[in-house]
């Protein structure tokens, strides 16, 4: 650490951080994220409508009625029917309003979002990507494009992307700030999330729910590119000499850290790979993580690592 915490430094740093665009959630990049950000604003404003007056009242009261000040002292005042109706009534109204608003917004940002799919695109503009979380990498399978990647999600601008998600081993959570909101990724189960891609851009996605020693290394690049670039990229990737058979996949699914989240491409993923992975997990296939492996990750012993054993079917 080069910067030493120093008395004047933190406030300055705080200011510096405000001026940059690091507050990603303030800058949503598509429809779902925008609606979620609006919900945040509405909720905060409504809540502040009561919190600020309460803070002011408390501030005024402790000033005015501090011992020795001239506020009128009434040692018995402890009940007032009108006020007691108000102290229940005001929170009740706020919660009723926010509750209604909450339910409404849930439907608008629903991750399985068929509404979004229909509103924004015809079926030809829907791109399906199957996402498989392993210990500790992300495998993206593009069934329509006949390709697969490790740790890279590339999607064309102006489309709607449906991610189907599952995991080979433990539970996880996928997150691309500004673009893809959090959704659980679980072994033997599938979840889904949908997002649109109005603008070009590059993002970092990552794992958000702890999944073992390699968890902090689970980033993946996310790019929104023009449709032409997407086609070119897909051709390039699909031309990879490495084919993603189920056997090849099982090697990838061995617990391992992909340091620096290096991207790899595969051609011709085995048809129905996603379903196969789900079914395998349901049938009890696990990719065990030994204590030696956990201990070696992120430590200097990492180099000494032996290749882990094959999957263990119980």
């Amino acid at each position: 650490m080069r910067l030493k915490p120093h008395l004047t430094l933190p406030p300055l740093l705080a200011l510096a951080a405000c001026s940059t665009g690091d507050y990603r959630l303030f800058h949503p990049m598509n429809m779902v994220a925008t609606q979620e950000w609006h919900a945040t604003l509405v909720d905060v404003v409504v809540m502040l409508l009561i919190i600020v007056p309460v803070l002011l009242a408390v501030g005024i009261f402790i000033w005015r009625y501090r011992k020795g000040a001239n506020g009128a002292y009434d040692p018995h005042w402890s009940h007032n029917t009108v006020l007691e109706f108000l102290v229940w009534g005001i929170p009740f109204l706020v919660v009723a309003g926010l509750g209604y608003y909450s339910v409404k917004t849930i439907y608008a940002v629903e991750p399985y979002n068929p509404g979004l799919t229909q509103a924004k695109a015809g079926p030809q503009n829907v791109l399906t990507v199957d996402v498989i979380a392993t210990d500790w990498q992300w495998v993206f399978v593009y069934p329509q494009q006949h390709l697969a990647t490790i740790d890279e999600l590339v999607v064309p601008q102006g489309s709607v992307v449906r991610l189907r998600l599952t995991s080979t081993s433990v539970s996880n959570d996928i997150f691309v700030p500004q673009l893809v909101t959090m959704i659980a990724v679980m072994p033997g189960m599938r979840t889904m999330t949908t997002f649109d891609t109005p603008k070009l851009g590059d993002y970092t996605g990552f794992a958000a729910d702890f999944s073992g020693a390699g968890f902090s290394w689970m980033q993946f690049a996310t790019h929104i590119v023009t449709p032409d670039d997407f086609t070119a990229w897909a051709q390039k990737a699909a031309a990879s000499p490495n084919q993603l058979s189920y056997a090849a996949f099982q090697k990838i699914a061995q617990p391992q850290v992909n340091e620096g989240a290096k991207v790899s491409y595969f051609s011709d993923p085995e048809p129905g790979l996603f379903e196969k992975v789900v079914a395998a997990a349901q049938a009890g296939v696990v990719y065990p993580v030994s204590d030696e492996l956990s201990k070696s990750i992120g430590s200097n012993e990492h180099a000494k690592l032996v290749t882990p054993p094959g999957p263990n079917v119980k």
Binding site: I51, R66, P91, A184, A213
Partner: protein, 689 residues
């Protein structure tokens, strides 16, 4: 039918081998050295001052609710310190290990903690803070204050009370032991599933976590039974329900939650144990297991648990704010109603901990609205405290400062809780440090109330006040540290930082991580202030001895003498009003002396609870390491103790009126730190039956 284990196992030592002792890890070497030095110092002092017998007779075997409460709080404060050190390590790791090129030291690739160690640290931090710091501290206050507040002689079941304490302590001891023998869980305080299953956590870490919680939660459940019975059955004559002080009300509601919620946790952990020990498939992803079942069960306990913590805190605020405003609490009846509304709703909201699990909008909608409903009674409470200040005469004593800061934390935590309660917002910040900051506002409110309680009730027990100047220094440094650390953490949440990262890959997070580190350093300073406060207070104790430490206190616990005699009240008080002491003071009755004393029936001390606690600790250790013979032996020992107890004919003793009179005139001999003569042979006067 036993689960297959990696690694060696022997009948004599189970999974325990020499290389399970992490003597090569430098951090642990230093910790171990520290523990040995401090431990030896304590033992030396005890022996040097010839206090071993005193400790055993007056503390370890005691069944006095006040001493048990004190020991609960001491255990809680020790664990609070341990949990804090974990927090300090996590903050330091994250700021050192920021960016892909962050250097590493001490064997770590980034920062100074490899993930295997870091993950244990954050898992231990959460487990300790919630179950072994906040819970014992609050239980301690309930133990000390509730019987006094309702005019009772002791808890309904004094012996069981001691047993609860020692079971909780056994759990805490197991967590501490995991530092030096084996590892602790690396799967979060919530026991992330299926990460806690054997294929992903083959070591003994998860077992430490599981059995430590299991043992201590038996203690918590027994304590809940005890508290509920005490409040329902043992109120002094005249203390009708609507004269019950609010702290006792919140204790009642909180323990109803504990009694209903902890068994769920017990079952969830037992099923997990079946998976890990017997090779069952309750929570595995395959073979017909259902991992969401665990998550549901955990939070069916976990959410009520956080309200189990916060309700007594609301009680403490409701005692402190009126005392230092010289006014009764505004809206007593609505306050009680709000307490029970919060408790009731707390059973209906658990799913908000996994809105992102992919449930449909109808389910998420239901739990979103249910969660927000909690905001109504919580809002009521805040308003009521604000109106208690109105037209008061406010003293800014240390407990009041903590209470006011607590109010602020409640608003911050409530605002952010109401944000997380909207799935549309939750999807962007669930699993982020924004969530972590939300619940730290709430649990730091618990800590603030704990320190309010410590400064408020300390003189009641020990007869002298804590130093005001150092108390204020402690308060301000702690407060500043809290605001700086958690403001930065909220900011990081909006920057997209997620929780439990061993190294933080995004360099853009650096500035705020540094701010957090600065805030954490202020906590270190505040701990120094706390220790100085204790030392100075003890040094100057002669100067701060007062018959009535807080002349504006209102409730029954302040009616009896200070320091409180071990029999609580020489004569059971007759209650006439809601704020009994305030009422008596107003009518000039607060100094009235009883015209005669009657013999008091007291329970005898017993060594069995501490022995059972120790055996439970041994049993847990044996289960963790799968040393079956030892587990069987310690369990048999526990059963023998229970049988011995059930044949115990000792029904306590009677304090004679002369003795009481002597202690009422010389308070020092009845104080809880005084050594008592052996009274087990006091004759039993017939008319006292």
């Amino acid at each position: 039918m036993q689960a297959q284990l990696p690694g060696p196992w022997s009948p004599l030592l189970g999974r325990l081998t020499l290389d399970q002792i992490p003597y090569q890890v430098p951090i642990l070497q230093w910790t171990f050295a520290g523990v040995v030095v401090i431990g030896l110092a304590v033992v030396f002092c005890v022996l040097y001052f010839r206090k071993a017998g005193y400790l055993w007779r007056e503390w370890l075997t005691t069944v006095d609710h006040k001493k048990i409460g004190v020991m609960y709080i001491v255990v809680g404060l020790v664990m609070l310190f341990r949990g804090f050190v974990d927090g300090l390590m996590m903050r330091t790791q994250q700021v050192l290990a920021n960016g892909p090129n962050a250097p590493g030291i001490m064997g770590a690739q980034h920062g100074f903690l490899p993930p295997y160690h870091f993950d244990q640290v954050y898992s231990a931090h959460g487990t300790i803070m919630i179950l072994f710091a906040a819970t014992p501290i609050l239980t301690g206050f309930q133990n000390i204050v509730v019987p006094l507040q309702i005019g009772a002689r002791d808890m309904a079941f004094p012996y069981m009370n001691a047993l609860s304490l020692w079971l909780t302590t056994a759990g805490a001891a197991l967590v501490m032991l995991s530092l030096f023998v084996g590892d602790f869980s690396a799967a979060g305080w919530v026991g992330l599933i299926p990460l806690t299953e054997l294929p992903f956590s083959p070591g003994t870490g998860v077992d430490y976590w599981m059995w430590a919680i299991q043992i201590s939660s038996v203690g918590t459940t027994l304590n809940a039974i005890n508290m509920i019975t005490t409040i329902v059955e043992m109120r002094a004559p005249g203390m009708s329900w609507f004269r019950l002080p609010v702290f006792s009300w919140t204790t009642l509601s909180s323990n109803i939650i504990a009694l209903t919620a902890f068994p769920v946790l017990g079952v969830a952990l037992a099923l997990l144990g079946a998976d890990r020990y017997l090779g069952a498939h309750f929570f595995t992803a395959g073979n017909g297991g259902n991992l969401m079942l665990y998550t549901n069960l955990f939070w069916i306990w976990g959410h009520p648990e956080v309200y189990f913590l916060i309700l007594p805190v609301f009680g403490i605020l409701s005692e402190v704010v009126p005392t230092f405003s010289e006014k009764p609490l505004f809206g007593y009846v609505t306050m009680v109603a709000a307490t029970f509304a919060i408790a009731g709703i707390s059973w209906l909201v658990w799913l908000h901990h996994f809105f992102t699990m992919g449930a449909g909008p109808d389910i998420n909608g239901f739990f979103s609205v249910a969660t927000m409903l909690v905001g109504i009674p919580t809002g009521v409470k805040v308003f009521n405290w604000a109106f208690t200040l109105y037209r008061g005469r406010i003293h800014f004593s240390v407990p009041m400062l903590w209470a006011l800061f607590g109010l602020f934390l409640l608003l911050a935590g409530g605002l952010t809780g109401m944000m997380l309660a909207l799935p549309a917002i939750n999807y962007t910040v669930h699993d982020s440090v924004f969530l972590v900051a939300h619940f730290h506002c709430m649990v730091l409110l618990v800590v603030a109330a704990a320190f309010a309680g410590v400064t408020y009730w300390f003189p009641k027990l020990f007869g002298f006040k804590l130093d005001e100047g150092w108390g204020k220094a402690f308060f301000w440094v702690f407060t500043l540290g809290t605001v700086i650390t958690f403001a930065a953490m909220f900011a990081l949440g909006f920057e997209g930082e997620t929780r439990r990262l061993d190294w933080t890959f995004d360099p853009a997070w650096k500035p705020m991580l540094i701010v957090e580190e600065f805030g954490i350093m202020l906590y270190v300073v505040s701990i120094v202030c706390f220790v100085i406060m204790l030392a100075v207070s003890i040094r100057d104790r002669a100067k701060t001895r007062l018959a009535q430490p807080w002349p504006t206190a209102r409730t029954l616990e302040w009616l009896t003498h200070t320091p409180v005699p071990f029999y609580n009240f020489a004569v059971t008080p007759q209650v006439n009003m809601r704020d009994e002491l305030a009422w008596r003071r107003e009518h000039g009755l607060d100094q009235a002396k009883p015209d005669r004393y009657e013999a008091i029936h007291m329970p005898s001390n017993s060594a069995l609870p501490v022995i059972i606690g120790a055996l439970a600790g041994v049993w847990g250790f044996a289960m963790i390491w799968r040393i079956w013979w030892l587990a069987g032996l310690s369990l048999a020992g526990i059963i023998v103790c229970v049988i011995i107890r059930s044949f115990d004919k000792n029904e306590g003793y009677y304090l004679q009126p002369e003795e009481i009179e002597a202690m009422e005139t010389n308070l020092a001999i009845g104080a809880i730190i005084a050594e008592q003569p052996d009274r087990s042979h006091s004759s039993i006067p017939a008319e006292a039956h």
